[in-house]
Amino acid sequence: MYEHDVIVVGAGGAGLRAAIAANEAGADVAMVTKLHPVRSHTGAAEGGINAALQEGDDWELHAYDTMKGSDYLGDAPAVETLAQNAPEETINLEHWGMPFSREEDGTVSQRPFGGLSYPRTTYAGAETGHHLLHTMYEQVVKRGIQVYDEWYVMDLATTDEDDPNDRECHGVVAYDVQSGNIEGFKANNGVVLATGGPGQAFDHTTNAVSCTGDGHAMAYRAGAPLEDMEFIQFHPTSLPSTGVLISEGVRGEGGILYNSEGERFMFEYGYANNSGELASRDVVARAELTEVDEGRGVDDEYVHLDMRHLGEERIMDRLENILHLAEDFEGVDGLVEPMPVKPGQHYAMGGIEVDENGQTCVDGLYAAGECACVSVHGGNRLGGNALPELIVFGKRAGQHAAGEDLGEPEIRTGYGDDVEDETDTELPVAPGKAGLETSGSVAADGGVAADAEGVLQRKVETARERVDTLMDKEDGVQHAEIRAKLQKAMTDYVNVFRTEEGVKKALEIIRECREEYQDVYVDDPSRTFNTDLQQTIETRNLIDVAETIALGALVRDEFRGAHWRKEHQERKDEEWLKHTLISWDDGEPSIFYRPVILEGENKTYEPKERSY
């Protein structure tokens, strides 16, 4: 057994920032991560970090844009915390040596991004995430923070009181990918989940193969609700063949979208008469698919993004990486031809419900980064707002887990007297239940009496048994088959456009996947670097996460932000200014709601129509 004050699971932007903060607060912190830190998906971020740095801009404008972009589903205390802290945190990266792009006078450059009223996106070429990730990893090396890399976290060691609000998290169970050894990691102060997005629930995604929603699923099964999972962002410009992202920076710098008729459709068909290509992502993604559906797509599949007119010099200076991506993955030279693009799954606005300090309703369990939902993005995330979220809330989670006092949070978590119950939406299948109880759905028994070590020990044993069962089984279904079926169902039915019938169909297929998973087995007999085993466990997590996405999409019968419903073409503020929460009770999801907090520090954000 290993023991530390704070255990950070995941070493992307959020995890690294949390670990540095916990270390600075004096805690003995360790990171446990399935990939070596520099391999984390944060490295793929291209566009930039929003922070009100310049004169003429200020945090209040940033907060306003974010609330509007969120379609009024962001919680004001979180949104304002983001906007207030982003400048200092961004400049802090600069102090750590991050190579931002520079102006003539040596200050960091900023550029326009969709949905922003001021060009406040700070960037390092079109490789902002790469530099952010490496800069923070360098600081981790400098501080000598312990990193257990290529350790896959399978489960949380949480007590099992009936009410999740009474539960406590004492650590994690992980296995060493290289040797197959399963061990407990005891956390004396807290566990911070920073496991990134769940993009692999879809088959056309900009997300890395490692983005399998592990943290979501582990927290969910430990009793922390998942919030606003229906809000999935589809990025308007991903390459059709692979899903590789073409940064919004291209449109920020003046790139233009054309349909097959050569029309600049964002204006031509009135999708966004003021902002055109720079309207918010949900608006542009829907516009593109409408063009394709109406027969004006190229090859019936995509549209064109043209940056040729920007000139070679500007492109080389600010978007060079884009040229390489288009060339390597689509065989297109962006200097001489337009690039093919279509919407792809990109980001999960929802996630593990946390407050401004990163805490979930389970004591000692924190979450930060894309796996968390402190609710800064609401119904739709503005480009450039995820990276500041990683550093602002990663830091806060690390500090709080290390025992620093950050004040009382305004956001509440877990089931309590401020929530509204259940819906009357009819579900096509009893979701969740398929007798899948082997993975220790809630926690070790032993309840209140059990000490931390006992809880952890029991969890380690359960995990070992589970792996033995998977490995001993001689034949059955392979995870790849189930995963492919799940991904297809999500892309077919829970995509940019959603219908009631479609989402119900998806839920049925997810249920089938769950049943098939009962018969899953691992073919590779080796304990050494068994990726078959790892992916099999990840697939289970994907099933849980996909189910919450589809459930959220079914119950929310309105049109808000990225969540478009065919039968419900309006935003229903009377009924839906609230978060969807799904929690796992006794092996089956239950749904409840919590009102959005629109009151900020100095003002209340009044919902207005979003026009761009």
């Binding site: 990939l35 070596h36 520099v38 750590w96 931002f100 200050t107 400098k142 065989g331 990726t531």
Partner: protein, 290 residues
């Protein structure tokens, strides 16, 4: 854990029996043929163009895989298919024990550097159509093989850490938290290429010197040091400290400008040039010459 030194150059590829699907003489024995036939059948159903890949296999734990061997796979070709796509297909459709690292599939995470047709390349960045078939896919040479295409990266990481890979002027930043340390666009441009390294290890694996001298810092670590040493935001004193690390016995002077690192770097970093520049800096600063 037992590991195994890969010497792909000296390895005999088993003869290609030109069957479809996953097969190799060794696999045949080990699996009693059943699985192989099934794969062959699956692959035989494939219509259209296929790609023939030969993949290095080794597992210290599994009988029949302890002796390194090559397995043949035939995967359906699709336009734009990369080497990574082909091994993923082989794994998902034919043999789920086929093991390799990969994640971003867009050339930024640095996890899938393989030895492809005799050259270090990123699987995800290499179009299958550019290669001669059968495509031979092996782990990076000069590194311990953990299993199949997975090599032990610890030595590579150790070397990266040796050069103190972190910015060292942040202890005396501008007084105001919100004040930036200014850097000219030219200076940023100067360090730009060096800052692109994704720690894939291709350069280190291609370097003859590194192969013969385990203590040699190697091109990636030296390039990492270059990034800091050339950044004007770090002061003169620290620059000198960095050059001292670099000009030690197993540092920059070991480089014999063979350019193999520069040739394989998937990020087009002019590694050899950077190493040469650091040598010149060291001379300028009158540092010791080994």
């Amino acid at each position: 854990m037992s590991t195994q030194q890969a010497e792909p150059e000296s390895q005999e590829a088993p003869e290609d029996p030109a069957m479809k699907g996953a097969e190799s003489p060794a696999a045949d024995e080990q699996n009693g043929g059943g699985m192989v036939d099934e794969h062959a059948e699956k692959a035989a159903e494939l219509e259209g163009e296929t790609v023939h890949i030969k993949v290095f296999r080794y597992d210290p734990e599994v009988e029949g895989k302890q002796e390194p061997r090559f397995d043949d796979f035939h995967v359906p070709f699709e336009k734009g298919m990369t080497v990574l796509d082909s091994v993923m297909y082989a794994r998902d459709e034919y043999d789920s024990s086929l093991t390799f690292r990969h994640s971003c599939r867009q050339a930024v995470c640095g996890s899938d550097a393989f030895f492809v047709n005799g050259k270090q390349r990123l699987g995800c960045k290499t179009q299958i159509s550019d290669l001669e078939q059968p495509v031979r896919i092996e782990p990076l040479p000069h590194q311990e093989v953990v299993k199949d295409l997975v090599v032990d990266m610890d030595h590579f990481y150790d070397q990266m850490h040796t050069v103190e890979p972190y910015f060292q002027d942040e202890d005396t930043p501008p007084v105001d938290d919100l004040e930036e340390q200014r850097q000219s666009p030219e200076n940023r441009e100067k360090i730009k290429m060096s800052s692109r390294c994704i720690w894939c290890g291709a350069c280190m694996s291609s370097c003859n010197i590194a192969a013969g001298d385990n203590e040699y810092l190697g091109p990636a670590a030296i390039n990492k040091a270059y990034k800091f040493a050339m950044d004007d935001r770090e002061g003169e004193e620290i620059k000198e400290h960095r050059l001292r690390i670099l000009e030690q016995e197993h540092g920059v002077w070991r480089c014999q400008t063979q350019f193999s690192c520069t040739e394989v770097c998937p990020k087009d970093i002019p590694l050899t040039e950077h190493i040469q520049e650091l040598k010149r800096e060291a001379v300028k600063k009158n540092l010791k010459f080994w």
